[in-house]
């Protein structure tokens, strides 16, 4: 990891450590009362953190004041989803439909993803900052050492083009084999 990646990593570690310390005990209590195990609690909480990060943290500053409540609410949704019992309590701004989108990549995507994680690492980090972390343009520009926001945008599209070309290339390969 280079220096900037490490810094980003440390920030994320700080965030997840704080959320874990603040909110995991409540989730653990909830799950243990329903005869769930510690492992189940950890698994559900990890999913809840991913969902929270994607659906709430990266999208809005405002709702961060009720993080504990949000995380517990997501854990409850996941728990009842697993056990198949109904759960009608609504959490403001969090549609239960959002929670479905936690699936793993398709097998055909896995290979390409593994390739991109190594050979395409730098580009994937840039694209992740834009499209997944939703970081402001200026922060991305600083973090990656671009000469300015314009340059950052150009890099974004260059990287997107590279990834897209890789997708097209691999699709052609699959098509060849399928004949």
């Amino acid at each position: 990891m280079n220096k900037n990646e490490q810094q980003g990593f440390d920030e994320m570690e700080g965030l997840f450590t704080r959320l874990y310390l603040e909110a995991f005990p409540l989730s653990a209590a909830f799950i243990s009362k329903r005869d769930g195990s510690l492992e189940q609690a950890k698994d559900l909480f990890q999913d809840a953190l991913v969902i929270y990060y994607e659906q709430v943290y990266t999208r809005s500053e405002k709702v961060r004041t009720s993080e504990k409540a949000y995380l517990l609410g997501i854990v409850k949704h996941l728990w009842y989803g697993q056990t198949g019992t109904g759960f009608t309590e609504r959490l403001d701004g969090l549609d239960s439909l959002m929670l479905v989108d936690i699936e793993e990549p398709q097998p055909s995507e896995q290979k390409l993803l593994s390739f991109l994680e190594t050979a395409g690492r730098k580009c994937m980090e840039v694209l992740k900052a834009f499209y997944y972390d939703n970081l402001p343009l200026s922060k991305i520009s600083d973090h990656f050492g671009f000469s300015g926001t314009r340059s950052a945008t150009v890099q974004k599209y260059k990287c997107l083009e590279k990834v897209r070309d890789k997708v097209r290339e691999r699709k052609l390969e699959y098509a060849d084999f399928a004949e």
Partner: protein, 88 residues
Amino acid sequence: MRTSLNEIEHIEKHLLGELPGEESLLVEVKMSLNESLAEKVASQEVAYALVKQYGRRRVRQQIANVERKLFETSGYMSFRQRVFKFFG
């Protein structure tokens, strides 16, 4: 930006619904007439999905690291004790 990058930006706006109605329609028409363009659009959609999966994997790695830290290293004893109490 060079032409190909402008095109990628244009496709992105189309996919995000940020183009005015008639421009978006024009993209759709061009796609039906031009297989290469249609394929670019489809591949670009896959590219976004891959970025999301990549981001998710990185986040899961970070969460797993934090979990290991909290449950396996010294310094978080009171947190662990609090949690273990629930599971008897």
